[in-house]
């Protein structure tokens, strides 16, 4: 390894530790939020350095897009005296025990990693690839070999939306800040690009890093940008159509999982000749549904109070 390469990694690691520390211990909340967002940025670079572009892509799409927007919007809703509040208890804790704890945790992880069987499951995945129906091993694991896990992940997201929506109404109307006359123009420019990238990542998921989660995050980013620019959920979309869109991913997943039982008799055992098509259907339905669900999380409540306007 060349010195420049090693130095790059060392600097990256150091910045990440500083940012992680700031994210937890910063004296005001805004600083903590910005530190956390920047930590996500560098994490994506770190995943790239570890040659795990799939995870880097998910981190980039979720971290740079929706997580930051959710945290900043939440910060805006907090009362001013709380926003600048020092995190008294956290600040008083000295650095030393945390350092020791972090070191112990890293050592334990290292020991566990070394104790794991050496090649892992990678070889078994690669040997099963001809039956997977897609070229990308990651997508094959997510949507074929371990589709059950992905199904439950989507179910958890839907539950989160239901839980958040049950807490109150949407919060868009209550927050209007500075006038931003150029924002609609920017969104008109960015929204088509984001939708295009959504479908690009969905298509890319079949043979490389991409897939439903990053694609859904990009779609959600586009929709949230439109909401921030002043667009409202169209009235004819609220109620049943919106709820159907939210549940579409999970429904498509379950219908296909149960449907393939007719052929093979096993839950989620795609017949190999239909696998490419079935995976594509699940991927598109899940991607779009994830996009709507993430936007629903940002809305913070079921949109009921619509006074004209459209998306």
């Amino acid at each position: 390894m060349h010195p420049a390469e090693a130095l790059f990694d060392a600097l990256l690691l150091l910045s990440m530790v500083v940012l992680a520390w700031q994210g937890v211990h910063a004296r005001n909340m805004f600083r903590a939020v910005v530190s956390f967002m920047m930590f996500g940025l560098l994490t994506a670079v770190a995943w790239v350095r570890l040659e795990a572009p799939d995870i880097a892509l998910a981190e980039a799409a979720l971290g740079a897009g929706l997580t930051g927007a959710l945290l900043l919007a939440t910060l805006g809703r907090l009362k001013p005296e709380r926003r600048g509040a020092r995190l008294q208890r956290a600040a008083k804790l000295s650095m030393l025990p945390w350092l020791a704890l972090g070191l112990a945790g890293t050592m334990t992880l290292l020991a566990v990693t070394l104790a794991l069987p050496a090649p892992g499951l990678g070889e078994r995945v690669l040997s099963a690839m001809p039956e997977a129906g897609v070229d990308s091993p990651v997508t094959a694991v997510l949507l074929n070999f371990r589709a059950w896990d992905t199904l439950l992940e989507i179910a958890v997201m839907l539950l989160a939306v239901i839980a958040i929506w049950s807490l109150g109404q949407d919060v868009l109307a209550s927050t209007s800040r500075l006038p931003a006359p150029s924002l609609p123009a920017l969104v008109r420019l960015l929204f088509p690009l984001l939708v295009l990238s959504t479908f690009y990542l969905l298509w890319r998921g079949g043979h490389g890093p991409g897939g439903a989660f990053p694609a859904g995050a990009l779609l959600a980013a586009g929709l949230v940008l439109a909401l921030l620019a002043g667009a409202r959920v169209p009235e004819r979309m609220t109620g049943a159509p919106l709820r159907c869109a939210l549940a579409a991913g999970l429904l498509a997943f379950i219908i296909i999982a149960v449907g393939v039982m007719a052929e093979g008799g096993v839950f989620f055992a795609y017949p190999p000749r239909h696998a490419p098509m079935l995976i594509a259907i699940v991927e598109i339905a899940a991607g779009l549904s994830i996009g709507v669900m993430l936007t629903a999380l940002f809305l913070g409540g079921e949109p009921t109070d619509t006074q004209g306007g459209s998306t």
Binding site: L12, S15, Q22, R27, F30, D54, A69, L186, L193, L225
Partner: protein, 95 residues
């Protein structure tokens, strides 16, 4: 050539560290947000250089996602977090 790419990436990462200092020092929320945006732009450049060094094509996609989502944070910030009256900028610290 790989060395050149890594030297460039290292230089840009050093810039990120400088931007990090501005994120930590502030003093206003807008300073922190803008240096955060600068870090985002630099990260796109770092990723493209890493692609040059490694040739893994998916890195371009990661850079694309960062570039296309760069506006997201600053738009949310302006619309949701930025105080209505700049005189009562609550993020200002007595440092």
């Amino acid at each position: 050539m790989t060395v050149f790419y890594f030297a460039g990436a290292l230089f840009l990462l050093a810039n990120v560290v400088v931007a990090l200092a501005r994120v930590l020092r502030g003093p206003t929320a807008a300073d922190r947000m803008l240096s955060g945006e600068l870090m985002g732009t630099t990260a796109v450049a770092v990723l493209l250089l890493l692609y040059g060094a490694t040739g893994i094509e998916a890195i371009i996609d990661v850079a694309l996602v960062f570039a296309i989502l760069a506006a997201m944070a600053v738009v949310t910030f302006v619309r949701r977090t930025w105080p209505e009256d700049p005189a009562v900028d609550n993020e200002r610290e007595q440092t």
